[in-house]
Structures are given as structure tokens and as C-alpha cells.
């Protein structure tokens, strides 16, 4: 592996982490959207809020990480991608703002119309943001981003069959991941009926994702032959792994074993993302710009690798501590102290 490949792999680790953590996060928002009326959906929304509140910011920093690695180590490719695809990226950024702000603020607000407005903003942006990001992936993977600043078509680069496939697939995968994660959380919290609901939804979205995946192969063969060749060639083992992991996850879900289902689902998503990377190798921008051509100066790459290694040493324990703290302290065990009197909860009354 060359230095540039190592760095791009690190970036891809960030991308996979974003896909898994933020993906589940977006998906939770989608289920929030579909939870039903204010009263009927209240318990689901409580679970969703309870599950993602402490970690939502951390989940989304992965994207920043992907962006900064790209713009420092692969500056030209970064400039090409973001200028050609500025419309879906700007819309995705607006979606992230709407989503983050609405989610952050809605629990601090009690008036019903305001809460409804924020809830709608949170849920809707959870639906459209992964669509736009998926369409960006579709644009890059189908070779619609040529090198050069704004060199591609700013509309057809992301309004095309492969991008549409990428967008819808992203939404479905987010919803699926969230259903599995939320099912496990509901089980841990002892809300078995909610766990059942999310199990049904996970099975449903899994079926939809699988069906779309099969249909997608025909879309790719017609619309993105290079990507299709890559996925059925070099990327095939990973695609197969993804399918197998997905099926295993279904079996676990069927048997109501949420935790192994969670792991298998994460593996399925990771494998398909890696499959995309393998299919595209050695190009950053199909069909012209290779990784080596796109990589910048050696001193920069070395500095970044050092920073990533040291950063990971600091970050991983911190992140582990955060997740451990939340997983092992369910809300019920509040230590009584002088200021621990629970205030009026901003409930969905």
C-alpha cells in the first residue's frame, strides 16, 4: 500500500463510521417521521430521543473528518467533487443544520405548535439529507464528476438513475439500521412491544433494501457500466459478504436476537461500502483520476498520518468512555444530589 492509499483508507474508515452511526441517527429521524400522531407516536419518539440524544453530535463529526482529510490530502479531487455537486451538498448541509438544530432545541421547548414544527423539521430533514448524500455517492461512483473545478454538469451529475438509486438506497439503509438499533435499545429498556414494532420494521426495510439492491444491479449495468464491472469483478467478494451478512442479520432478527443482528447489519453495510471502494480502485474520480495522481505532497501526507494516529489514540478511548457511560447508566439510576430534582420534562403533551 502506498502512503496515499493508506490515507484514503483512513478516510474510508471515517466514511464507514459515518454511514453506520450517522446512518442510524438519520434512520431514527425517519421513524420519528413515521411514528404517527402526536399522542400515538409519543412513546416511540421518546425512545428515539433517549437513544440518540447524547451521541448525535459525535456521530456527525465523522463527516467533518472525511471532508478535511479529502481537502488536505486530495485537494484537487475534493474541489472537483464539491463544486460539481454543490447543489446536493448544500441541500444536505441545510438538512444537517435543520436536523441538528431541531433535534437539539425541541426538548427545550414546550409549546405544542413549536414542538410540532421542530419535530417536522427534524424528521423531514432526516429523510432528505441521506438521500442527497446517497446521490452524491452515486454521482462519484458512476464517474459523473470529472477532475477540475465545476467541470461536471451541476444538475445531471446528481439527477440520474445511479444517483437516484444511491439516494433511495441510503434512505432505506438508514431506516433499516435505525430499526435494528432501536429494537435492541427498546429491548434493553424493557419496552418489549416497542421492540416488536421495530423488529417488524427492520424486517420490512430489509426486504425493501434487498429488492432495491437486486433492481439496482440492472440500473447500474445500464447507467454505470464501469461501476457494475467493478462490483461484479474485484468487488464481488465484498458484495457477496454484504449479502450473506444481511441474510444472517435477518435470521437473528427473526429469532429476536437483536444484539447479534446489530453486528451482522453493521457488517453488511460496511461490506457494501468497501465493495464500492474496491470497485472504484485505483480511481478517486472514475474514469480518469487515480489515487496516486490525486494525492498531494509527501510531507502533507506524512503529517496527516501522524496526526491521525495520535488523534485516534486520544479519540478511541474517549469515544469508548462516552458510549460505555451511556450504555451502563440507564436514566433510572440518577444519583440523588442537591440539584438532582427532576424538572418538568418537556414532554409531548
Amino acid at each position: 500500500m502506498t502512503l496515499a492509499e493508506v490515507l484514503l483508507s483512513c478516510m474510508f474508515v471515517g466514511l464507514v463510521a459515518y454511514g453506520l452511526f450517522a446512518g442510524a441517527d438519520f434512520g431514527a429521524g425517519i421513524w420519528d417521521l413515521l411514528a404517527g400522531g402526536t399522542r400515538r407516536g409519543a412513546r416511540q419518539r421518546q425512545l428515539i430521543e433517549h437513544t440518540i440524544a447524547p451521541v448525535w453530535e459525535a456521530n456527525h463529526v465523522w463527516l467533518i473528518f472525511v471532508l478535511v482529510v479529502l481537502w488536505t490530502a486530495f485537494s484537487g479531487a475534493f474541489a472537483a467533487i464539491v463544486t460539481t455537486l454543490y447543489i446536493p451538498l448544500t441541500l444536505a448541509a441545510f438538512g444537517m443544520i435543520a436536523r441538528g438544530a431541531a433535534f437539539a432545541f425541541r426538548k427545550s421547548i414546550t409549546t405544542l405548535p413549536m414542538r410540532r414544527f421542530l419535530g417536522a423539521a427534524f424528521a423531514l430533514s432526516s429523510l432528505v439529507t441521506p438521500y442527497f448524500l446517497g446521490s452524491v455517492v452515486g454521482a462519484v461512483a458512476s464517474g459523473r464528476v470529472p477532475p477540475g473545478i465545476a467541470a461536471g454538469d451541476v444538475l445531471t451529475s446528481w439527477l440520474n438513475p445511479t444517483s437516484a438509486l444511491g439516494g433511495v438506497l441510503a434512505v432505506l439503509v438508514c431506516a433499516y439500521l435505525a430499526a435494528v438499533f432501536l429494537g435492541a435499545d427498546a429491548r434493553r429498556e424493557g419496552a418489549d412491544d416497542l421492540a416488536e414494532q421495530f423488529r417488524t420494521r427492520a424486517l420490512g426495510t430489509a426486504a425493501a433494501t434487498g429488492a432495491l439492491g437486486i433492481a439496482g444491479l440492472f440500473v447500474l449495468r445500464a447507467d454505470a457500466p464501469l461501476l457494475f464491472d467493478g462490483l461484479t469483478g474485484r468487488g464481488l467478494p465484498l458484495v457477496v459478504l454484504s449479502v450473506v451478512a444481511g441474510l444472517v442479520a435477518l435470521v437473528f432478527l427473526w429469532r429476536r436476537r437483536f444484539l447479534p443482528a446489530r453486528a451482522a447489519s453493521a457488517l453488511a453495510v460496511t461490506a457494501i461500502l468497501l465493495g464500492w471502494a474496491a470497485a472504484q480502485y485505483p480511481y478517486v474520480l472514475l474514469p480518469e483520476l487515480t489515487i496516486e495522481e490525486a494525492a498531494r505532497g509527501r510531507a502533507t501526507l506524512v503529517a496527516m498520518l501522524v496526526a491521525l494516529a495520535v488523534g485516534a489514540l486520544v479519540l478511541v478511548p474517549a469515544l469508548a468512555y462516552l458510549y460505555a457511560l451511556f450504555q451502563r447508566s440507564p436514566g433510572g439510576e440518577v444519583r440523588e444530589g442537591p440539584t438532582s430534582a427532576p424538572g418538568p420534562r418537556a414532554g409531548a403533551t
Partner: protein
Amino acid sequence: MDPIVLADAAENLYPARMQMALSLGWHIVFACFGIAFPLITVVSEWLGHRRGDGTLTDLAHTWAKAMGVLFAAGAVSGTLLSFEMGILWPGLMDRFGEVFGFPFVLEGFAFFIEAIFVGVYLFGWNRLSPRAHMLSAVPMIVSGMAGAFFVVAANAWMNNPTGFRLDADGRVVDAQPWAAMFGPSTWPQVVHMLLAAYMVTGFTVASVYAVGMLRGRRDRRHRAGLLVPLAFAAALTPVQIGVGDWIANTVADNQPVKLAAMEAQYETTAGAPLSLGGIYQDDELRWALEIPNGLSLLIHHDPDGVVPGLEEVPPDERPPVNVVHLAYNAMVGLGSALLLLAVVSGWTWWRRRDIPRTPWFLRAVAVSGIAAIVAMEAGWVTTEVGRQPWIVHGLLRTADAVSPASGLYLGLYGVVAVYAVLTVLTAIVLRRLARSPDTPAPQEADAGTPDRAAGEVAVR
């Protein structure tokens, strides 16, 4: 490039600059709280534990929640910025990303750590022992300040690009990202910004309680809520004035045209005056108040020192003088007013261990937060507009860095709309938090299982 594309770039330049200015100007206020609020909050918590004073720990808890809200707003606006760096200024990122992009990678880690520990700090309230809880704040404080260092270092690089060579075609060779991070402007700019963050946070938080006291709420909570943040801001304001001198000298050495624009001085002059106010027209500053030899004294510490004027460079290399000059004057004027407030507070505290008992003092504190924010924004306008027409000083023009993508200018309308809504929401939430401190912060998980929560909802 074909002419249509070039026309688009020209059309995009002004809206792109406005979009960036709005996004940055909005984000920077929240970034200030991300930098300075953790320490102020933890000091209050620590004082509370040490003196067994529940008022102070309660106050710290409220501030921690406000910090959570402000941090959330800062985080989402920061995400947009990282997109905009490439979407709006691809010429900058494409050509120089490998030189000055590196601090942003480190900032990514710093922000990640801060996000994690803001979550731990809020969630850990009453769940961790006081000692463990205050220790969990240390990474939050350190990473907040480190993040500021990295972002400002990247900006300082745009003012004083170092750490690379250009080949005959103007392409970057031999990029040295570590050297680029420590150019001549980095330390003065970073220290100036860190102090500004403490001033903005300290004065703003104090002003909230000053307003409460003016409305008759003179309890211990309001007194402490005013005193603790004001102590930080007042102690650091005199330091900031000194750092101002340091940074002005750095600008004089490295960006003489920016300094000339700050002083609206056309002719290269020995014994240059310090000009306050006025309007710059036809290469001349009119109606300004002049302090003879003031500028030469400040810059060279010699009343007859020579200060280069705008005439040294051709007109198309000069920044918009009035904006820079007036923004600079606004910053210095407001900074001086805040210094006066700091001196009065410090004097009374030293003599009587109390705040001045006149309502004028409370009124002054009540507006000090806005004043500090305006001064900080004016400072950024000075440095950013003062660098124009360059995006990388002396090397790359802003007009050559902007994206030529068609329709890009529409993004400005979107950003204006999004930030208008976001501003209103943040204000509503903070007001609510000020009125009823029990309001949860965004990072706090609801205590309780869905069942119990649903039960409570039903009861209501």
C-alpha cells in the same frame, strides 16, 4: 475557460463573499462560547463545591445546559462552513489545501473530543462524583481552546502564507504543513481570539444577570451570576489591549496595506497621525479626529517613524478602505469602553469587595455583552476585508478562488433564511433556559424509560 463560465465566476464573487461572511460571522459567536464557557462554568462549579454553596453549583448547572444549546448551534453551523470552504472557494482548496488544510484535520479531532466531553459533562451531572465530573471538563476546556488555535492558525496562514514554495508555473511544491501552521501571524491572532472569546462569553453571561438585577431580582444567584463571568472578562480586557498592540505590529510588518486601510492613510508618511472616524474619499480621509504622530508612535514606538500608505500599491490591490477603517475604529472604541468598565469593576471590588451600587453600572454590564460581540465581529471584518482583494495574501485573489458553478449565488438566499430561523430558535431556547433552569440541554438524555415517560405524559 469559456466566457460563460467566467461570467458566472464574476457573478458569484459578491454573493459568495457575503455567504461566507454570514456563515462565519454567525458561527464565530457560538464558537466563542464553545471556547470560553466551559472554564467559566467549571470554575463556578468548583467554587460551589469548595464553599459548599449550592447557589454556585446550581448556576454552573444552568450554564452547562446553556453551553449545550450554544455548542449544538455552533456544531451545526460549523458543518456548513466545512462544506462552504470547498463549495465557494475551490480555487483556494485546490491550490493550497495541502499547505493549510492540515490544521483543520487537527481541529476535527479537537472538536470531536469537545463534543464527546460536552456530552459526558452534561450527562454526568449528579451521575459522577464531583471530582470526576470536574475532571471530565478538563478535556472539554483544552480541546475548545485547541480547536480555536487550529482554525485561527489556518486563517493566519491566509494572512501570512508560509511553509511551501511555488514552481515556475505557480504550483505548490514542497508543502510543509507544520511550518505553515506556525507563521508569523499565528500566535498574535490566536491569543487575540482566545481573549476575545473569554470577553464575549464573560460579558454576555454577566449581562444576562445584569438585566435581571435591573428588573429587581437582587438575589444571591443573580449577584454570583454577574460576578463570576464578569471577573473573567474584566481581568482579561487589559491584557487584550496589550495583545492588540502586538497584533497591530504584526500587521504592520507583514501586511502594510492592511494597516494603511485600517488607518485610511493614503500617503506614506513620517510621523503619521492616528485617525479616528471620518470618511475616506478620493484618496483622502475627511472629517477624522487625528492624534498627531499617534500611529508612528504605536507602530514604531517612535513619533517620526515612517508608515507606508495605500499609494504603495496599485488601486486594484487595495481593500475597501471605509469598511476596514470604520470596523477597526469600532473594535478599538468598544474595546476601550469595555476596558473602562473592567477598571471600574476591578477598582470597586478591590476597595469594597462588592460591585458598584449604581444602576448605571448594571446598565453598562447589561450592554457589555452586545458590545463585546460587536467588537469581536468588527475585528474579524477588519482582518478579513483588510486582506482583500487577496484570499491568500499576495498570491491568490479572492476573485480567482471563487467557484464558477452556475447558480451558486442562490445559496446566499438559502443561508440567510436558514440562519434567520436558527437565530430565532436559539434565542427562544436560551430565554426559556434563563426563565426556568430545569429545561434540559440537547445532549442530556431524558431520564427514564419510554414507559415511565409516556406515563408522565399521560398524567399531564
